[in-house]
Amino acid sequence: MNAPVKIETTLKDWETDQEVRWCPGCGDYAILKAVQRTLPQLGADPANTVFISGIGCSSRFPYYMESYGFHTIHGRAPAVATGVKLANPDLDIWLVTGDGDGLSIGGNHLMHVLRRNVNMQIMLFNNEIYGLTKGQYSPTSREGTKSPSTPLGSYDHPARPAAFALGSGARFVGRGFDVSKNLPDVLKAAHAHQGAAFIEIFQNCIVYNKDVFNDFAAPKGAEDRQLWLENGAPMLFAGGTRGIALDRDRLELKVVDVVDGDWQAAEVLVHDVTNRSIAHMLVEMPFGPFPMALGVLYDDPRPTFETAVIEERAKASEGKTADLAKLLGQGQTWTVSGTAADPV
């Protein structure tokens, strides 16, 4: 994020005059509102904000944000955004992608923007399906997903976006879902992070993959199935009656019961957003036996790519002038006067 001057805006200021064309009831609407609600809270300047997307339902996002926006080509938004950021590091860039755009056709670019640590917020809308192309299974679809291209059920193993991001070297990994009231907090944390901040947002595709996240996202029973992580706080869920502890023999996480709120006795872990080892366990934590880990899973900044590029350029230019005539005539040259040549 880069917003040296905080600007007063309202949610309305971030709405465009364009008709939103997602299917009625699509989770994208909720995410759009969450972002439009968050930006005023950040004091973001619309003129300094750029939404960059690839292709897919999620990638229509820039058209609905009253800021600068670039709807690029399938999978390549991270590369375009890298160029934008290197050309003007003062711009505040939000990348919008989906599970197909970001992990299938654009998986390579997503990996590299994360490992390079280009300063931007990357929102990956994960609906576990190809929506805009009418319902084929996606790289995050669960095994057995029946779709027009897998009528008998898919058999590839799904990619896990947060694990992919962390494995690629991301220094910020957050998770939320479309209708969650906590989503703006995750977005704010991502914005505060200097570097590539990856946010997986579970998004309900009501047409092709309806309610696929209901197991943890449905309001009923949510307490038992959602683990909202908070830095410095114990990893508790189910109203504080259960928690996440470390199985020290197997070096993996386990669910423990918390009696009378004494989480220390149950050895419940205290969330430390800079603990990369625990972060690796959290992104791999299987839903079902465990709750879904949500919030900021990992946040440990390190120098950004564009800073290194700028510093190197400054250092390499030190004591040099951009003298084009000198550059053209550099190296070993000779002068011709008439027909005689003399070395210079």
Partner: protein, 672 residues
């Protein structure tokens, strides 16, 4: 195939041009030798052209046929446009070098060979059954064989080097002999060696000793045989400052100049590929000119990052060769659709697919002009020589920013690697084309991001500009607001507008490079065929044939007068290093009966081949025109080797194992 003259210029008292080919093992430092000989030739005031030919393998096994590295230079007291059809002098540092290059040597040509390397083991590696230096098989050439290895070891003895290290100065010894042979001063080489080994004076002195010993050998041995000193007079050149330049350097400098003339920082997104990588290597060392280079994760990311940089207000540039250009295709469409400036350099190589990575070809013309989805018009410019690549790069930048469009600049493996003397231009002599970004609404109180100017270009709006918020993208957009608009009449108008914008790019009228503006035969070329066509047409005209040379820089859009110009000739012959792509464009655009003359052996045209083709038009046999030029065993690149982009220095010479990346690139270090 053309016949070669049996006599060589070596017989002449003062020959007007000589072709020398240095050949050795890739560990022998032939590119460096050639590069330094090139420099001394330039300093002597001769015109010249070179052709470096390195093996494609990074470190080919020593002494093998495919490990042969060669460097050819054609220099003279008259205008030189090509690296020469066939060498007059072949320096062979080992049996493999002799075997691979002998077929090229003119009958009566001179072979200089190092006996010290003609051992049983090396002869076996080169698949010689008997020693060619002794078995009489070289009878039709002049042979000068002596033990360069031993002489070098002897010369550097005072510096206490081991035998292996001492032998690494062989190339400097050979260079010394060549300097003597063509009456060149040694001092510039001494200075260069001292500067190169500033921190290792012993190494510098050993190399200087080897160089001097080679020179002295020629001077004092008084060989009665074929070795004699030749004097080649300086060419008449316009007064001024000169240097040698390769195409890759010229493109890089032209891009920097173009960005400066546009008053923009430059962003270069690249991905390593032969033979285009040299441009990335050159530009990354020019950061003080506001150049940012970005080695992307792939070709697509390289162009997309460049598009992102252009969107943000810099001059985005990307570069590649055929396969990489294919990958960039979709993104070019995005730049066309969003109407952002972008320069795409294509250093063409043999295709399709991986094809011939280290060999030259002009077979990406269709890809450049037509190779995208949808109706995706894009200006295309082709450089004809290394120095012309400088002008073309500036022209590409100008068109890109003035018309808000991607522009493709075509060079090829030959132009990228070849060197020629270049009269250093004065940057002040170029007209600036400073970019004006839009800073306020352009239609009353409304912003219309796609409202066009007289050139058909939309405004360039940098994100970060207050009050000009808008969205762009690859989806069809409204002709003024840029908002998504799929409506039929809008798409029709936008397609027409994109087409008209590119077709109306101001392109200078086509001039005739040589000859009359009407006549019996026009030989029409584009790109790196300029040199051989020019020489061949010149020779034909001296024989009295009514033939002209027309060389097209602006491939798309074509010069407005080109159709009428071509119709002023009875016949049009189009020599191309492909199966006839430009011929097809000319036929399509002007309905002229352009005949193809094609060559796809990975080798440039020889002058003699073109001369023969031109001659056929005047021999009165109907239909005896055009056709296909077969592979030519006299020419570089030779079948066992190729030339590379110089990213890995040709194991240079003594004490220089850890040369910097990019050093010794192109023709081997003439501009370090």
């Amino acid at each position: 195939m053309a016949t070669q003259a049996a006599d060589t210029p070596l017989e002449a008292e003062n020959p007007d041009a000589v072709v020398v080919r240095f050949a050795g093992d890739s560990g022998d430092g032939m590119q460096l030798t050639g590069g330094q000989f090139t420099l001394s030739t330039a300093l002597a005031g001769n015109d010249l052209a070179t052709f470096p030919d390195f093996p494609a393998e990074i470190r080919a096994p020593q002494g093998t046929l495919f490990g042969v590295s060669a460097f050819q230079i054609n220099f003279g007291s008259r205008q030189i446009n090509t690296a020469g059809d066939a060498p007059d002098v072949l320096v062979a540092m080992n049996p493999a070098a002799l075997k691979v290059n002998l077929a090229a040597l003119k009958p009566g040509g001179l072979i200089i060979a190092d006996i010290g390397e003609f051992t049983k083991r090396n002869l076996d590696k080169a698949k010689y059954e008997s020693n060619p230096l002794e078995d009489g098989s070289l009878a039709k050439y002049d042979l000068l064989a002596f033990d360069i290895s031993a002489l070098t070891v002897e010369a550097v003895k005072p510096f206490g080097l081991g035998n292996k290290d001492a032998l690494r100065s062989k190339n400097m010894w050979t260079l010394g002999l060549a300097l003597w042979m063509f009456d060149r001063p040694r001092e510039p080489l001494h200075e260069w060696l001292r500067a190169k080994f500033k921190t290792k004076p012993d190494i510098a002195n050993a190399n200087i000793a080897a160089l001097d010993a080679g020179h002295a050998y020629g001077e004092t041995a008084e060989l009665s045989g074929p070795l004699k000193q030749l004097h080649i007079a300086p060419v008449e050149s316009a007064p001024g400052l000169y240097r040698t330049i390769t195409g890759a350097e010229a493109v890089s400098l032209g891009l920097v100049a173009g960005a400066q003339l546009a008053e923009l920082p430059m962003f270069f997104g690249g991905y390593p590929i032969t033979p285009a990588s040299a441009i990335l290597h050159h530009l990354t060392r020019l950061k003080e000119f506001g150049v940012t280079t970005f080695q992307a994760e792939d070709e697509i990311a390289a162009i997309c990052a460049a598009i992102g940089a252009s969107y943000a207000g810099q001059l985005g540039v990307t570069s590649s060769s055929g396969p990489g250009i294919a990958l960039k295709g979709e993104a070019m469409g995005l730049a066309i659709m969003t109407e952002l400036p972008l320069v795409i350099v294509n250093s063409q190589r043999g295709g399709p697919s991986t094809g011939l990575p280290t060999k030259t070809e002009q077979s990406d013309l269709y890809q450049a002009v037509y190779g995208r989805n949808g109706d995706a018009p894009m200006p295309v410019i082709a450089a004809r020589s290394p120095s012309d690549a400088f002008e073309c790069a500036i022209e590409a930048c100008r068109i890109a920013v003035q018309y808000m469009t991607p522009v493709m600049l075509l060079t090829d493996g030959y132009i990228a690697n070849a060197a020629e003397p270049w009269k250093v231009p004065d940057p002040a002599s170029y007209e600036k084309f400073p970019v004006q970004f839009l800073t306020e609404k352009n239609d009353g109180d409304q912003l219309l991001p796609y409202k066009r100017d007289a050139k058909g270009a939309r405004p360039w709006i940098k994100p970060g500009t207050p009050g000009l918020l808008h969205r762009i993208g690859g989806i069809e957009k409204h002709e003024l607001t840029g908002n998504i608009d799929y409506s039929p009449d809008n798409h029709q108008r936008m397609t027409d507008a994109r087409k008209a914008k590119v077709e109306d790019v101001a392109v200078p009228d086509q001039e005739v490079a040589l000859g009359e503006a009407t006549g019996k035969l026009a030989v029409v070329g584009w790109g790196s065929t300029y040199g051989p066509i020019h020489q061949a047409v010149g020779r034909a005209r001296r024989k009295g044939l009514d033939v002209s040379h027309i060389h097209v820089r602006h491939i798309w859009p074509l010069p407005a007068n080109l159709g009428a110009l071509l119709k002023g000739f009875d016949k049009v012959l189009v020599p191309e290093m492909n199966t006839g792509q430009f011929k097809t464009v000319l036929r399509d655009q002007f309905l002229v009966d352009a005949e193809p003359l094609t060559k796809t052996s990975g080798q440039p045209f020889q002058i003699a081949e073109l001369e023969e083709a031109i001659g056929k038009y005047f021999d009165g046999i109907p239909g005896n025109e055009g056709g296909e030029v077969p592979a030519n065993e006299q020419q570089l690149p030779i079948s066992e080797s190729g030339h590379d982009d110089g990213t890995y220095p040709d194991a240079p010479f003594h004490g220089d194992d850890a040369a910097l990346p990019g050093e010794g690139s192109d023709t081997g270090a003439v501009n370090q």
